[in-house]
Symmetry: D4
Subunit: 239 residues, 8 copies
Amino acid sequence: MEQMAAGYKNVSTAAGELDLGFARLDVDRAARTGDPEVVFGAGKTPEQVVGAMRALTLAHPDRLVLATRLSDEAKKLCRTELSGVEVDDIGRTATLGRPGPSRGRVAVVCAGTADLPVLRECAATVTVFGSYADEIVDVGVAGLHRLLAQRDRIAACDVVVAVAGMEAALPSVLGGLVGVPLIAVPTSVGYGWHLDGLTAWLATLNSCAPGVLSVNVDNGFGAGVAAARIARNAGRPAE
Amino acid sequence: MEQMAAGYKNVSTAAGELDLGFARLDVDRAARTGDPEVVFGAGKTPEQVVGAMRALTLAHPDRLVLATRLSDEAKKLCRTELSGVEVDDIGRTATLGRPGPSRGRVAVVCAGTADLPVLRECAATVTVFGSYADEIVDVGVAGLHRLLAQRDRIAACDVVVAVAGMEAALPSVLGGLVGVPLIAVPTSVGYGWHLDGLTAWLATLNSCAPGVLSVNVDNGFGAGVAAARIARNAGRPAE
Amino acid sequence: MEQMAAGYKNVSTAAGELDLGFARLDVDRAARTGDPEVVFGAGKTPEQVVGAMRALTLAHPDRLVLATRLSDEAKKLCRTELSGVEVDDIGRTATLGRPGPSRGRVAVVCAGTADLPVLRECAATVTVFGSYADEIVDVGVAGLHRLLAQRDRIAACDVVVAVAGMEAALPSVLGGLVGVPLIAVPTSVGYGWHLDGLTAWLATLNSCAPGVLSVNVDNGFGAGVAAARIARNAGRPAE
Amino acid sequence: MEQMAAGYKNVSTAAGELDLGFARLDVDRAARTGDPEVVFGAGKTPEQVVGAMRALTLAHPDRLVLATRLSDEAKKLCRTELSGVEVDDIGRTATLGRPGPSRGRVAVVCAGTADLPVLRECAATVTVFGSYADEIVDVGVAGLHRLLAQRDRIAACDVVVAVAGMEAALPSVLGGLVGVPLIAVPTSVGYGWHLDGLTAWLATLNSCAPGVLSVNVDNGFGAGVAAARIARNAGRPAE
Amino acid sequence: MEQMAAGYKNVSTAAGELDLGFARLDVDRAARTGDPEVVFGAGKTPEQVVGAMRALTLAHPDRLVLATRLSDEAKKLCRTELSGVEVDDIGRTATLGRPGPSRGRVAVVCAGTADLPVLRECAATVTVFGSYADEIVDVGVAGLHRLLAQRDRIAACDVVVAVAGMEAALPSVLGGLVGVPLIAVPTSVGYGWHLDGLTAWLATLNSCAPGVLSVNVDNGFGAGVAAARIARNAGRPAE
Amino acid sequence: MEQMAAGYKNVSTAAGELDLGFARLDVDRAARTGDPEVVFGAGKTPEQVVGAMRALTLAHPDRLVLATRLSDEAKKLCRTELSGVEVDDIGRTATLGRPGPSRGRVAVVCAGTADLPVLRECAATVTVFGSYADEIVDVGVAGLHRLLAQRDRIAACDVVVAVAGMEAALPSVLGGLVGVPLIAVPTSVGYGWHLDGLTAWLATLNSCAPGVLSVNVDNGFGAGVAAARIARNAGRPAE
Amino acid sequence: MEQMAAGYKNVSTAAGELDLGFARLDVDRAARTGDPEVVFGAGKTPEQVVGAMRALTLAHPDRLVLATRLSDEAKKLCRTELSGVEVDDIGRTATLGRPGPSRGRVAVVCAGTADLPVLRECAATVTVFGSYADEIVDVGVAGLHRLLAQRDRIAACDVVVAVAGMEAALPSVLGGLVGVPLIAVPTSVGYGWHLDGLTAWLATLNSCAPGVLSVNVDNGFGAGVAAARIARNAGRPAE
Amino acid sequence: MEQMAAGYKNVSTAAGELDLGFARLDVDRAARTGDPEVVFGAGKTPEQVVGAMRALTLAHPDRLVLATRLSDEAKKLCRTELSGVEVDDIGRTATLGRPGPSRGRVAVVCAGTADLPVLRECAATVTVFGSYADEIVDVGVAGLHRLLAQRDRIAACDVVVAVAGMEAALPSVLGGLVGVPLIAVPTSVGYGWHLDGLTAWLATLNSCAPGVLSVNVDNGFGAGVAAARIARNAGRPAE
């Protein structure tokens, strides 16, 4: 993931990089791994976010650029400065460039609207990384009837991403319902002593359903990258 | 809970106690709290367990005595030495004395046979403390159809005790299905890094279903005491 | 518990819900579990709190609505906008609708005025969930005479909720004094390294008094839900 | 995962299960999720392991049976009692039944021979769940030249499982070299204060390479289940 | 505290020490701090314990020697080999030499017989360090009447040591009853997830009673050293 | 310790208390424990601090009142409103009333000026609780010569309080130099990952010097209370 | 490290110190350890930083003064008030005085620009403590080709400092490439649940490369002090 | 570090390794890093240890071989089977081959005989890696006079390794006395709740003496490797 620091100078520079003064962008990664480029927005000024997205687009006009964890100010500046940008207020993401045809299908599921920002970050990532994201919200385990009503829709996907906070029971219940690859994203949503998502994280790693995979707390981006890679290879014709 | 140490002497003795040489038994608690007496077997020799049960029975012929966490040797000696004793091999408990009519009904539910020892300890405790224990096993969340099949039976009880290890999703799913008081017993059952039951414990305390109550890891006894107190007061005629 | 996110749209909607634009309210839970509806105020704007309470009242004019964890601004707006609302400044709660006759009696006890906000949240929840809350304050273990003076009053209730921070010795002392079901609410009240209430939490789960039940740190709401369910079933005539 | 307890009786039995006296086997899971059946060997007597494998084979003669975490005694009894069984001493697994043609290819990679038991458990699981496991050993980051020599072989697989203990740097280095889906298995291998694998676990969840997926410490089985599901769907013709 | 290792040689030796081959004993400490000498028995063979005690007695015939944490074998060998030794089976201590007149009075109090080994280690230490230990057992907070019955006896001492496991509520209750200096010794006594005494430890450090002092878990020796130093200076005539 | 909450009303009041509307003050504690009264300033408005101090002085004109953890605003208001008050800017304390003759002598020692606020809180508490505090600053272990220069001065006291942050080596070094009772106060002073004082706390509880007593992190008040109680009893004539 | 507190007075002062009213500076350390003097800027006002630097320069005109962890305001005031000062915006350091010829060579290496502030603090420290710092940036393990390109340059130094956040794989990879002494500085750089650098810290202490040394999280200063001491002694002629 | 597993076969083999059937030995590391080869004995049978040492000696007759963490059985077999071997009973090490002239001088210091095994492992490693180890024992901080007596001897070395358990105050005190590079080895030596050496570890990383470097708990080997590398480069003529 690209990172930057203001005022950076006078240090050694390796080959194959783009120097923006405040940031060095790795424009070779895509060739190595087949993925688009991403700007991690946390800790960056709005100007830095916009500058990084613009530079990456100039360097690779044929490729999508995704920015994540944007502040309200950064979202506003993206809308003003970057023509054609897609900004998602809930998911705090911005996308530049038009996606080509997607391959494979990813169900992105969450237990409640509090988990929605993570679900949306994940869905945007899936899209940018070349697959289709089917968002299914409010299917928590405390209201099983809603979840059961979506079973077939989820089972029809190539991979399912289960976003869940608090005690994160959702991945286990899903793992008993469908046999597709399952990625759990624990979130920091909770009340009282939930240890900033540790509870959800431990739950996903101790699921009674075999084969549940985990990423870090709130890491919708990481889950999206992995899900898209899996779904793209699943051999399903593009949608 | 009564406790003991071999060779104990020369220390001050308060009123209202029974001195066995190796243990001081509080024979007044029942009058204060309305409960029978319990021998916690962990760390005791078989002889100490049998001696304590016998002494309590002599002191209170009209009352039940429960012993928990018995070793195989202690279970064997109880069977040999205590006439009329009931020993449960799975739950590691022994009961002396005949229960009177029970009041109220407690559903004791668990996710798998690995949790069975805790479920049986809880059920024995419920019985000794004067209520009826309805044991329901193998209704884990990875096989929802079995759990849903037991919904009405559980809802018909005065309180439900959900015994669950690993990620402990069961209490949350149950909490969405029934409205009766719900006590969760996290267990130390798990594989890999489950932190000796901390994962399950944290899950029960962060359940998305409101009103879930918890006890310590593997504490079937504590849950049974509380469940019986609740069920006995529920006004249901004796069974 | 109902949750919400601003700007939410374009996602699948399950049947039986009320869509407010910024929130989806589950109006069927009461039918499933017999409980009123609750708005969790933390992280919501005052407008969202008021909007959610109004919508729930319109959908279910015959049912009470409780809002918890309200900011000062939300409390103020509730008073201005919602006629007939009851706002508790200490407990940070708002109640809409008139409670019917209560069933059963819950003693809600705390060790000091620092624990009062949690006690009041619990008491308001007990009331809304249909039972009577008897509040008893400043009966900490460091002043035993005050606690002993309230013993009979506590023993006369169907269930006792002990709210306690710091080392949380209160539930253990209470558990030795009375035999009614006992729920401990550890609080994050403390000085120095108390681990945000972990100390109190661990204490409640390791109480030497058998049968003590716990909820998460500061979770007066959860304790209130459970206590009301227990007390309502206790068969005592309505007060 | 199937679990059992000796002496189990007198409890409710749900439909669709096989009762062995000491264990209840779920013979319907495969129909629901498309996977074979597994016997978790830890905590079971050799007789229980053999009995469970035999019963599952009788119930489903057309399906493979995998047993994991076998003791030396259980491995010996499997070899004596189960004709046609495949036992792996290092991976502590036993397999009954002949695998059909595999679909997809899974690279299973580890840093040193101390991680070999987990790698072998993973590889056996991949095979039983219907994919091909390509084992690559001793490619730790402290000897980069060996790892770089295997780059193309790894990149040619549909998914890579990186098994790594101590500081678990391997998944990050691999994630920079190849773009295929990557599952990290942290192991409890280490010297001194490594917290039983927590260090490796935290490292996999904080990898600087995007899209790294994790399972629990030493959970070669879980990683194998997930990897096979991913690889089987990857559309590559059977090998 | 003196420590030793078998086969030790060829290393630099500072002045003022006694070399036993397997141990170097600091015979100057008493001159510096006014205390007797102590042999920490954990991890030592019975022969090493006896040898160390004998050597210290020879070097300082006028001073007491205390050995702690003795195994059963070490206790037996002490009795056989050291004439005039006092061995306490419960406290796992051995004392050599006759104490002179004691100064000051230490109440050593505990909640249950499970805490008795720590109480006895503390009491033996108090005695050897020159003060009088008044042992008061079974005054746990779950039976307040017993504790209240001992209030005046405790208040009459110069310092009180409260030994308590599980949730360790005893120091807080005592702190509200008496105004003498109070040292809490958390113990590792408990059931389920008590974190090897961390729960008790945190409780003692977060006591609501001001001025409670703590030592490490199960450290009856350390508490005894401190208590004797405090009591000896309290100016009370020798008993 | 007295605590308060604004708007408090309608709750049961035990005998022997002073009700200020926003706070209930326990004016009987002194009679029970022999100590003055204390206002814990953290979380209180300046008006509440001043009001509480004034009320306590009115109720007990012959007794000292100490307020701790005062904000800058509270310190300012104390100076304006309370005639004769002593405010310590570094220690964040205010004292009302004139101390009588002190008994005993407490050395209060710290390693650096960063620990000074805790040292001053401790010294003020010692004074108010009736003993003399001898403050010795900047005697950290990294500059041994300074510490050794103060050895005799420290040894001449009845008790020593060692205030130390970071790795808290000071108590161990002191414990080897002097034989007087020793209380360690770990502080939260440190750089990087020191766990908010846990490092210092663990160090004090694992000191290689026997008999070191601990209080909670930064708890200068608690250490002062204990130290004064010990020193007052030490029989030294008043200074 | 020098520390200070405003308003400090009336306490004992040991010999060999400089009293500034708000701070006591140890001007003898250099004579004892051969190092320059350092002002730790965190928690100090800009005026205190400038005052301390000025005083140290006056006391020791022939010696360098380093200030670390400066706020933006402190950096600005240093530039205004201290003639000849060198301020590094990224590293948050200020240096006063001209370094003499350096001895030895330290490679200071980091994985990304997010780690740059720690790298720069380390490099400034190395310089002030008398060695040459060779800064090498953006050689993370996810882009191995860049790191391999710098191998010879790093191997030519006397010691290497590897600054790394997230999973901190860099020290292990470096340890396999070069045989020079290696100091790892874990940083608090990361996303999601990285425990404020604990993950990186644990990784450095569990490196599979033997001989890796660690300092605290983000402690570029400590690593720089150690590295300079090692490099200065390495016998390489001054650069 | 070389590792092995019994029965290993059928897996890919990289170039430049020695295959023993049960272990693959990296015989190229020395060429890459300039160090001898090491056999980590924990978890190996005596036969495996001896076989590995013999094979490494055959492959590199001119190089030393070190084996660490040997069991008593392994030490005995080394003595029987390997002619010319040096076995250290306390340090649990075996050395094969004659060391050449050493360069540089390492002071290896510890606080008590309980830390001696780690000190000896460190000293053996220093020797094998080509430097001189000066062992200084029993210089703990509780007996400062002994430590001060060794000050000049320690200051005359090129690097000092401070081995310390419990609260690990020794490195801080040493850091204030001498200016040579300082490596701290925290040990798991302690009584009660010391967290298996975490206390000592945290202490070394939070030392008030600047520039203290750390390795993992009990890792005498790692410290020895690093210390020898530093001392060998220090330009001191061979001893």
